[in-house]
Amino acid sequence: MFGKLNWSAIPIDQPIPLITSLVIIFAVLGVLAWTGIKGWWPYFWREWITSVDHKRIGIMYCLLGVLMLVRGFADAIMMRTQQAMAVNAPGYLPPEHFDQVFSAHGTIMIFFAAMPLVIGFMNFVMPLQLGVRDVAFPTLNSVSFWLTASGALLVNVSLFIGEFARTGWLPYPPLSEAAYSPGVGVDYYLWAVQISGIGTMMTGINFVTTVLKLRCTGMSYMRMPMFVWTTLASSMIIVAVFPILTATLAMLTLDRYFGFHFFTSTAGGNPMMFMNLIWAWGHPEVYILVLPAFGIFSEIFSTFSGKPLFGYRSMVAATLFICVVSMMTWLHHFFTMGAGAAVNTAFGISTSIIAVGTGVKIYNWIFTMYGGRVRFDTPMLWSLGFIFTFVIGGMTGVLLAVPPADFLVHNSMFLIAHFHNVIVGGVVFALFAGLEYWFPKAFGFRLHEGWGKAAFWFALIGFWVTFAPLYWVGMLGMTRRLQHIDFEAWRPYMDVALVGVGILIVGALCQVIQLVVSILQRDRLRDVTGDPWDGRSLEWATPSPAPFFNFAVTPNVEGEEAYWGIKQRAIEAQTLGPEPDYQPIEMPVNSGVGFFNAFFATVTGFALIWHIWWMAALGLLGAFIAFVVLAWRDVHEYEVPADIVARIDRARRASRAAVLEQLEREGAPS
């Protein structure tokens, strides 16, 4: 009746998952109860859950990402403490749990923390920078988000019901095949990642179409902000490689469920084909994450240096170069697995070459600062920390790109240190920088500067104290994923790394305190103009927070740095442009299809994991019905009357006019 599911799936005898699950369940129920008592459910349903507004969806993506970042960080803390304690000792995590912890850590961090955060930023910022009202397919956007959330939910359910995979964040066969992982762990992984992968796939299509077909008048390709270019490149990679992930995980699923022989070690299966295909996805995946990060830094470097970005065309060329070459390097993840000298050499060369694109970008950012008036606000601190950290991580990557060297450090702690170096230094630093930078645009008030700076310094120092020892101990021969360590000589490195994690915890706390303090002091930190940083791109032309329709009249762009030109003209003329002719605006209606689809996807996924076939069939049917209901709706858009548009926009013009007056009184140029 319930497939493989029975009461023994609940980990009563395992304190850590049990207590964690209970805490999470009570927290979730508590939040639901409190919001229900306050009567906020209709508001949340109307304004957030069924919203198709890219800004709302972007914020929800970021919220999901932050929550999962905390969970992933908790897993990291567990691993560091285990490795520090388990030198010639058992530690506190038995192997079967340690294996789940490192698998969950990687899976959550990549699929459910980094991807949602990056997609959330692209979602929020890109349409504003393009001067349009929303993405190409707003309802599809909502579906994408909720499917991603569904995957995240399934991973977290595995903590409470059943177990998670023990095969690492990429489940290599034959270990991940049914013969060697008969439990539900790998199935949780497969369905969670597959469901959220569909969501990500649709996001890629959405963003590519938006950037290529949906720009405001005058916004030609060479006038798009760098963040939009990196969004385009990242989305192109998504569209190109996520199908590979879908296909490969589907093949593993067929092996596990139907006894097929794609990757089995018997009957003609070829486990190496999994490695080949999954890394053909896996390497471009990290560029999906890092390209928008580079875009965020491009925006921040130019804004906080008070200068246009240096070498715009070479930046665009470098971005597209990285986009294409990223799909030609994947074998470097398995140099040691027998492909021979010719193949290894070819991919070693391509891996080294792709560093050139990043090098171009680094130089351009540095030259952007040169000759400018650099302001060291928190976003700029994160950017400077990134340059320092990421360049070192990139250099260790080029070291790893040399096959003979890689043979020595493949799957060692050196590798762990390298990829954390580039992902944390590149992607995570960018996310915090972008958070500081665009928070006012999303919520109408800035984040507290002092706590932000503290969070940065603790993060930077904590990162290096954690991972520098790991480089060293990797060179000394320590492999990754060790539940216990038999060499006393490695103990000091584990201890230092643990101290580093402590520093990172302080940094995370500073970040939380910053948020709380900022909310409490939001009136003092209010962003009244909509342009708190003296920005250069179109999102800063809107008030903070941006109105639901973004722009009362979609702009007509006349040069690079669309908003900078408008601003300088207004300052010179000491007046705003004439009031536009306000017209009614058509906006897309909200839709619950995303939420319902995801609900049924979760039910289906859970049912398939536990082999409850009737429930899976019902879930699929429900998802199909939800989709058909959407397909039959007659009303897709509603009209916003011109006077509402006018009222909102006149408030914006009034606040901008006040700024102009103040500048005029001060008698100073901008």
Binding site: V132, A136, F137, M201, G204, I205, N206, V208, T209, L212, K213, L214, R215, C216, T217, G218, M219, S220, Y221, M222, R223, V239, A240, V241, F242, P243, I244, T246, A247, T248, M251, L254, D255, F258, G259, F260, H261, F262, T264, T266, A267, G268, G269, N270, M273, L277, T554, V557, V628, A631, W632, H636
Partner: protein
């Protein structure tokens, strides 16, 4: 993306011959293009183009997914594990019928779309139904092929090669089946809602999808069946 002149299309040739200076028709954008703006600076495209292009991108991604199955088939082509090889399982006459059905259905699908653009409800539906029937014939033939093989003990669980064969051909057949369900839904929607804008957009997408399936089938019958028959 700056203006690039590909002279291959007849329309472009005609424009160049009749209007070499592009003083009138056939210019690339507003009549006084600012240097470096290129095309695409005239504001957001229409919904029809947005929907069509978005679906085109989705189709290309679907073809990448198929390519993974093709790659796996190529890698596992000899992994027969002592079981049947490609020559022992293929049936070329049946494949000829399948190919004819699918190619013809692609043609009738196109005719249906031409009827849609002419806003002719009857011929749209007639050609859609013919397309659907031909697609159904394809699926039934393929099911028959699989059942025949299964009755001979030739199943995907037998070897890596058979896994790859059944998965590649089966994934395509699954796409055709889903396409058939979509076609049925479109028939219902066209009947009830007529040629409303979003219905036409969905028919554009369906048209693209159906043609793409035939393109993939060209790959399958060539690489799996024909190359298999001469192996």
């Amino acid at each position: 993306m700056s203006v690039v002149d590909f002279p291959a299309s007849r329309e472009a040739i005609r424009r160049r011959r009749e209007d070499p200076d592009r003083a009138g028709q056939g210019g690339h954008g507003p009549s006084e293009p600012v240097a470096g703006t290129g095309h695409g600076a005239s504001g957001p495209a229409s919904k029809r183009i947005i929907v069509g292009y978005g679906f085109w991108i989705f189709l290309l991604s679907d073809i990448v997914m198929f390519s993974c199955f093709f790659a796996t088939f190529a890698v596992l082509r000899n992994a027969t594990a002592g079981g049947p090889t490609i020559r022992e399982i293929i049936d070329i006459p049946r494949v000829e019928w399948e190919t004819a059905c699918l190619l013809l259905s692609s043609f009738t699908c196109g005719l249906s779309f031409a009827a849609t653009n002419a806003r002719n409800l009857l011929w749209t539906q007639v050609f859609l139904i013919v397309t659907g029937l031909l697609g159904l014939a394809f699926v039934l033939l393929e099911l028959q092929e699989f059942v025949d093989l299964a009755n001979r003990g030739i199943v995907p669980q037998r070897s890596g090669f058979l896994t790859a064969f059944f998965s590649l051909v089966g994934t395509h057949g699954l796409h055709v089946t889903v396409g058939g369900l979509w076609l049925a839904t479109m028939l219902a929607q066209v009947q009830v809602k007529g040629f409303r804008r979003e219905i036409v957009h969905r028919l554009i997408c369906f048209n693209l999808f159906w043609h793409a399936l035939d393109i993939v089938w060209v790959g399958i019958f060539t690489i799996v069946y024909l190359l298999g028959s001469i192996a």
